[in-house]
């Protein structure tokens, strides 16, 4: 037996040595994408497999959350902010050999705004009036109104370029212009990509990429410890991190996602239509203690924006943890001690466990929180669609989603003319300095009205082999951009 074990250990040592010349990567993800067309569904996993690997857009969002050129070499914006002229890369071909030129841009954008479009972010394209081709390598996009986030929005998975030839089949056999070609998909287990031999840009270092889907925390830990998985950019078992940190084979990266975890309030339902009640709730919750209790490495937030984002201002001091003040505000609003409030909790751990912590905190100020766990589909139907709730805990994961506070109908029913005016100005302003000022105003206004209790930014906990370079620390958009990932040595 001893000899057998020694042999096995030697075998693993050998496979360790083989890492040096490695050009393949196995990347773990907690959720499997339902299909592989990022322009036809919202699931983050679709973009985390395909964006910038298989498909590319005119622009791209970088690891730092900035806009950079991709299929557009460069662009100019007319002084009125309405006309964008993109100079396109030439000689680019899709994986199936069909050419990329301006007609593809026109097709892709028109498909996204069409009445029967099922693009989950159709709102991104709504400002577009028309896309015209002055020649094959120049696309001119005209907007209805200036749109500050237009280039950013065109740089994510929802706005990738789709060939008219392959559009109908992209859900199961994706075809793009990117550095990796889709090879196969073992449903329920893995998606395999390989290097695109005719890629138009700098060839990627990796030759083979496998995405494997492991939701179970114990299985994910075992897979990374066993070396079956090289990288887990969104590691699902934070409780195992202490052990992994001690192991020199791994890099543990603590970054941030765009997930604003909030306790949403039904602003239309009394007593929550009274701002004093909402502020009291904000004072009653100790965000630092909540983050600690969840072991989630999140950063407390004071408004609907993520620390580190362009124009972020720290408003976490606006409603410091102060149970006495919370009780005073509740008394002023006529809320008697012992009043019952319901918190609906969707499945993620931050909601289910966070709900218990928050219920205990609310009890300190005399509120009896009734916790109702709901399944995700129930949450979407009851809370989101019908606004049937008092309070709920949820992470809003789309970047820059200030629009949800300006919609006529959105589940938490915040309707404020003052906010809408600032928001309208912000989306239409393209001057960077003015935008910074406006993004500050938006954050302050939300903090002031406290339509929801802003809790913390969802952390991005990544674990990967220490010899890997080029993986993103933060997640400014849903992505696992592998074009620059490589093994060292």
């Amino acid at each position: 037996m001893k000899r057998l074990l020694a042999g096995l250990l030697a075998a693993t040592a050998l496979s360790g040595a083989a890492h040096a010349a490695k050009d393949s990567l196995v990347l773990g993800m907690p959720l499997e994408p339902p299909m592989l067309d990022p322009t036809a569904g919202a699931a983050a996993a679709i973009k985390e497999v395909t964006w910038s690997n298989i498909y590319q857009g005119l622009t791209r969002v970088t690891a730092q959350g900035e806009v950079a050129p991709q299929l557009a070499k460069s662009w100019t914006i007319s002084p009125d902010g309405l006309t964008y002229t993109f100079a396109l890369q030439t000689g680019v071909k899709f994986h199936d050999g069909s050419p990329f030129d301006c007609s593809v841009v026109k097709f892709s954008y028109e498909r996204a705004v069409a009445p029967d479009s099922t693009n989950a972010q159709k709102g991104f394209f709504e400002p577009i009036v028309k896309t015209e081709c002055t020649d094959a390598a120049t696309a001119v996009v005209t907007l209805k109104r200036p749109t500050g986030l237009f280039l950013f929005n065109m740089g994510g998975g929802d706005a990738v370029m789709i060939s008219p030839v392959s559009a109908a089949n992209n859900k199961t056999s994706p075809v793009g212009t990117g550095p990796f070609v889709f090879k196969r998909w073992v449903k329920g287990d893995r998606v395999e990509l390989e290097r695109n031999p005719t890629y138009w840009g700098a060839a990627p270092k990796l030759n083979q990429v496998t995405f494997r889907f492991i939701a179970d925390p114990a299985a994910a830990t075992a897979a990374i410890m066993a070396g079956d998985i090289d990288a887990f950019p969104l590691f699902p078992a934070p409780e195992a991190l202490d052990n992994i940190r001690k192991d020199k084979r791994f890099t543990v990266s603590l970054g941030s996602t765009q997930g604003k975890t909030i306790m949403s309030i039904n602003n239309e339902r009394p007593p929550f239509n009274d701002v004093r009640v909402r502020r009291a709730l904000a004072h009653a919750i100790d965000r630092a203690a909540l983050v600690d209790a969840l072991g989630s490495f999140g950063k407390p937030i004071g408004s609907h924006y993520i620390p580190g984002n362009l124009g972020y201002i720290d408003l976490t001091g606006a409603y410091p943890y102060d149970p006495a003040k919370a009780q005073k505000l509740l008394a002023e609003a006529g809320i008697k001690p012992g009043t019952e409030m319901t918190i609906k909790l969707p499945p993620p751990g931050y909601a289910r466990r966070g709900g218990e912590v928050i219920a205990a905190m609310l009890e300190q100020v005399g509120i009896k929180a009734k916790l109702v766990p709901v399944e995700w589909a129930q949450w979407l139907d009851g809370v989101f669609k019908q606004s049937d709730f008092d309070l709920t805990i949820i992470s809003h994961v789309e970047p820059n989603d200030f629009d949800i506070y300006a919609r006529d109908k959105y589940y938490f029913n915040y309707k404020d003319a003052g906010y809408r005016a600032i928001y309208q100005k912000w989306i239409e302003t393209t001057d960077p300095a003015a935008r910074l000022d406006l993004v500050g105003q938006l954050q302050r206004k939300l903090s002031d009205d406290e339509p929801n209790v802003f809790l913390f930014a969802l952390a991005k906990v990544g674990v990967w082999n220490a010899k890997l370079t080029g993986l993103w620390e933060n997640q400014p958009i849903f992505a696992n951009d592998l074009s620059g990932v490589a093994w060292t040595e």
Binding site: P34, T118, K122, G188, A219, A223, A377, Q378, D381
Partner: protein
């Protein structure tokens, strides 16, 4: 025999029809909109409406039911809402994992459990019996997913001789694919073997006390021969019943073990489809599983006939 088969076939069809109506009605009552689940919280209402229209969700319930059933009759199981591929393809891939896994587990647990149970019965009240049944008692109490994690830690992390999970697919070759099923098969089989060995033991104990065993011993048969020739064959009916039940469970009730080993089996497909409100997949799977349970029961009944000639087709109905 023909009449017997026809009766069973009619029973099968009626049961499937009943199952299809029940599952369809339950899914109608269940809150949740597949289109909304696919497009999430940032989508605009008109986009959700467009997708509902594409999926045909706005047609009246009875039309959806009839077109579903009519499709099945023609062998068309529909297109999955979430995965956008034919459901038959989706289920086909999963069956290629779940069926070999179930068969391997059932073979493992049977080959382990029957000798252990018989041995314990033969050594009734002695140390061997107490030892074996003590282990079996622990086995019954072991949750299979926990055993699975333990097996992974032992055979994939500490001594990496088998994969920690995942499934490479049969196209990579029979052995690489089968390797992925070894640990999960053990995780599923051991607790089931524990139950089965206890059932075997008590069944054999019962037959050992029967007159015909005493007669066999009296006519000069050795204890071992009497045990294997008379006591064991007569004890097999409850054992086969339990094996049938366990097999039905293994086909789709193994979602937790599949999660631990990240196997793309039927259990996870059912679970995902319910969570995603992939209604058509849930409907198809429920009907299919109901059908397979009925078929397994039928095979168990046939086994009764083989095991005990006194049982007739009439009583096996």
């Amino acid at each position: 025999m023909t009449a017997f088969l026809i009766r069973r076939l009619v029973g099968l069809i009626l049961t499937l029809l009943a199952a299809s109506i029940v599952v369809f009605l339950v899914l109608q009552v269940l809150p949740g909109d597949p289109a909304m689940l696919m497009l999430d919280t940032s989508a605009r209402p008109d986009t959700i409406a467009a997708l509902r229209d594409k999926l045909g969700l706005d047609r009246p319930a009875w039309i959806r039911y009839l077109s579903w059933i009519w499709g099945i009759v023609r062998g068309d199981f529909g297109i999955s809402y979430t995965y956008s591929v034919p459901v038959s393809e989706l289920i086909g891939q999963r069956v290629l994992v779940s069926l070999p896994l179930a068969l391997t587990s059932i073979c493992l647990s049977t080959t382990l459990a029957i000798p252990v149970g018989v041995l314990a019965a033969a050594r009734r009240g002695r140390a061997t019996d107490a030892g074996l049944m003590g282990i079996a008692q622990v086995g019954v109490a072991l949750p299979n997913f926990w055993l699975g994690i333990l097996l992974i830690l032992l055979f994939a992390v500490a001594y990496p001789i088998l994969p920690a999970g995942g499934f490479v697919g049969w196209e990579k070759g029979a052995w690489p694919a089968f390797r992925c099923l070894i640990l999960p098969a053990f995780a599923l089989a051991l607790p089931q073997a524990a139950i089965l060995s206890r059932v075997t033991r008590s069944a054999v104990l019962e037959t050992l006390g029967q007159d015909y065993v005493r007669t066999a011993l009296a006519k000069g048969l050795t204890g071992v021969a009497a045990l294997w020739r008379h006591a064991v064959p007569n004890a097999l009916i409850p054992v086969v019943t339990i094996i049938g039940l366990q097999f039905s469970f293994l086909l789709a009730g193994t979602v937790i073990v599949e999660n631990v080993f990240t196997l793309p089996g039927m259990g996870r497909l059912v679970f995902q489809a319910i969570a995603q409100r992939d209604l058509i997949v849930v409907q198809d799977l429920v009907v299919l599983l109901a059908g397979s349970v009925i078929v397994v029961n039928f095979l168990v009944d046939l086994a009764y006939l083989g095991l005990d000639p006194r049982i007739t087709h009439e009583s096996a109905r």
